[in-house]
């Protein structure tokens, strides 16, 4: 097991370096000089040349990448052009809100998905299965930013039950787990949960169906095991794959929150990314994407290790 973990971690190193390379190159695929973003509009030639040297833009690309990576390893991702504050601090503050949203959405989406999937798989080809499957397909097909708008229309505009935008009452600077804050979380969390709900439902349904049609289930039933016991076997066998899918979905929720955070003005990493794009704040754009991608890589690593730990069928040799 330890050897497997060590090997898996070693495999992550080149991925992390490549991810950093992609993030580094992002700034260089932007049309025009990357310097334009930091340069005042009326800057003189001398100032431009001075800044070019200061930012290291006059050096060859591989050298620039090396220096950038070295600084990034020390936690220095540069300063935001818009605010002047360090990128890392800005991103980490926003990521906290995204994590809150993703966890709330995961609780809703995974619970619903597992329940619907188990029921659909157990009652395969009946009307119950059809209803659950329709939910799942609607969940993966709905443009979630539009669903968010619909929820705002119904619950904020028409019924006036829940706030439409923001992450807490005015005057509140940080998140808290009380109702005053939680009611801001309800709509974004439901909106975020529909895609994982759909995907987990489909996965668990397929797994349940496959497991129930295997010979050992027949044998269990022939030996007189009650249905609850059979169900326990189904869950145990489905768990590793379902867990892997859910881990991946959690990663997608963390990294792909930009549309929903924009709809609800949720002050997370996606919202930050949005403002970085439109203010052409390239260091902030680069840093946010790097941090989110690294989150995703390490989440994948954790899922792989957890899966190997609970599933003896996965070869660890």
């Amino acid at each position: 097991m330890l050897a497997y973990i060590a090997r898996r971690i070693v495999y992550v190193v080149p991925i992390v370096i490549s991810v950093a390379l992609v993030c580094f190159l992002l700034v260089h695929i932007t049309p025009g000089d990357p310097l334009v973003a930091v340069l005042p509009a009326d800057a003189s030639q001398e100032l431009a040349a001075q800044l070019r040297t200061a930012y290291g833009f006059d050096r060859p690309l591989p050298v620039q990448f090396g220096l950038w990576l070295l600084r990034a390893l020390h936690g220095d991702l540069g300063n935001s052009i818009a605010t002047g504050r360090p990128v890392l601090a800005e991103v980490m503050r926003a990521v906290g809100n995204t994590v809150t949203l993703a966890i709330a959405a995961a609780i809703i989406g995974f619970t619903m998905g597992i329940l619907l999937g188990l029921i659909a798989g157990y009652f395969r080809e009946t009307w119950i299965d059809k209803v659950a499957t329709s939910f799942a397909i609607a969940g993966v097909s709905v443009p979630h930013y539009w669903l968010g708008m619909l929820l705002v229309i119904v619950f904020s505009v028409q019924l006036n039950w829940l706030p439409a935008v923001g992450a807490g009452p005015s005057g509140s600077n940080s998140w808290a787990w009380d109702w005053a804050h939680l009611k801001y979380l309800v709509l974004p969390a439901i909106t975020t949960s529909v895609i994982p709900m759909g995907i987990v439902t489909r996965t668990v349904r397929a797994l349940t169906g496959d497991i129930l049609s295997q010979d050992f289930v027949e044998a269990l039933r022939a030996k007189g095991l009650h249905e609850r016991g059979v169900f326990r076997h189904v869950i145990k066998n489905a768990a590793p794959t379902a867990l892997a899918v859910m881990g991946l979905q959690l990663g997608y929720m963390l990294g792909g929150s930009i549309l929903i955070e924009t709809v609800f003005s949720w002050p997370g990493s996606g919202f930050l990314l949005n403002s970085a794009i439109f203010q052409r704040d390239l260091p902030l754009l680069q840093g946010t994407i790097l941090i989110l991608a690294l989150f995703f890589v390490f989440l994948n690593l954790l899922v792989d290790i957890a899966q190997a730990a609970i599933d003896p069928r996965i070869k660890r040799g």
Binding site: P14, I15, S18, V19, V22, C23, L26, V27, I29, T30, P31, I137, A138, V140, S141, V142, P143, H144, Y145, W146, L147, M149, L150, V152, I153, V157, Q158, G251, Y252, L254, G255, G256, I258, L259, T262, V263, L273, N274, A276, I277, F278, L282, L285, I289, L292, A293, F296, V297, N300
Partner: protein, 300 residues
């Protein structure tokens, strides 16, 4: 038009694979999918949306660009404006139908491009194997380290707003996914006896890939690609929704949804209409793709 790629692929497969077996298989698939009511209903809805988008200028609609300050945000069912008007007083029905033109192109084109590029890459990686396979597949792995929405936003955000940039960024998102599928099915086929026989009879690698392997793997890759159209539609409209795709005053569903967002307090249901179009196209492609997949799975 939704039927078009299917029959085109079927034709390609007919030419490529051994004649008697292939005709039987694709004919069976065709018969099975025609019997599937859900798939046929979805195909019909898509056909209507495609046809109305293509024929929009000849449908006697209002000018989708012409607004009026005195008839802004009319409700659904207003005489003369069956689906109301938008925030600049432009006819919603006309804009929704014209909007299909851009929305469908920017949603579907990336998948078609990625299908071409990904199939070629996967075929080469799977057939040639060795170092080339490692080089291609490890590069693909890097893109898998990004959640797809994040990757699309990152590329689009760096390149800047624009239709072309949005198509490029979505193509980059889908190429790795299709390459992986293409590589895995090709690896499954390359060591089969008929490939060996073709090689023994003197066929070159290019001929073997084009004639013997492509015909056997294209169906599986194609079904996978159709399942991506739904995501692509949602993401393409999403980029426009963020302001990274189409620019005003162009009618496009994602952009319309964005500009109408402020109108939800005045006329919410008109504001929600463009999203309903994205949803309809996306769910129909998903159901059709599911239907195609189970029709091709003859063992059941």
């Amino acid at each position: 038009m939704s039927e078009l790629p299917l029959s085109a692929t079927a034709d390609a497969a007919l030419q490529a694979a051994p004649a008697t077996k292939a005709r039987g298989y694709w004919a069976t698939v065709g018969r099975r999918i025609r019997r599937d009511k859900v798939s046929m209903a979805c195909a019909l809805v898509l056909l209507l949306i495609f046809l109305s988008a293509i024929l929009a200028p000849w449908l006697g609609l209002e000018d989708p660009y012409k607004g009026s300050m005195i008839r802004r945000l009319r409700h659904i069912g207003t005489p003369g404006y069956p689906l109301g008007t938008d925030e600049l007083g432009r006819d919603m029905l006309a804009r929704l139908i014209y909007g299909g033109r851009l929305s469908l192109v920017i949603g579907i084109l990336p998948v078609i491009l990625a299908f071409g590029i990904g199939t070629s890459l996967g075929l080469i990686a799977g057939y040639v194997g060795g170092k080339l396979n490692t080089a291609i597949m490890r590069t693909i792995d890097v893109f898998y380290a990004f959640p797809s929405v994040l990757l699309a936003i990152a590329i689009s955000g760096a390149l800047g707003a624009g239709i072309l940039n949005s198509i490029v960024s979505l193509t980059v998102v889908f190429v790795p996914q299709i390459t992986r599928v293409a590589e895995s099915v090709t690896t499954g086929v390359r060591n089969m006896d008929f490939v060996e026989a073709a090689r023994a009879s003197g066929a070159g690698p290019f001929t073997i890939m084009r004639v013997h392997i492509l015909g056997n793997v294209l169906g599986a890759i194609f079904v996978y690609a159709t399942s991506l159209i739904s995501v692509s539609m949602i993401l393409a409209a999403g980029l426009s929704f963020l302001g990274l795709g189409t620019k005003p005053p162009e009618p496009e569903w994602g952009l319309m949804l964005n500009t109408l967002r402020t109108a939800i307090y005045v006329n919410p249901w008109v504001a929600a209409l463009p999203g309903a179009m994205i949803f309809a196209v996306s769910i129909c492609f998903n159901l059709l793709s599911d239907g195609l997949r189970s029709a091709m799975d003859i063992r059941n």
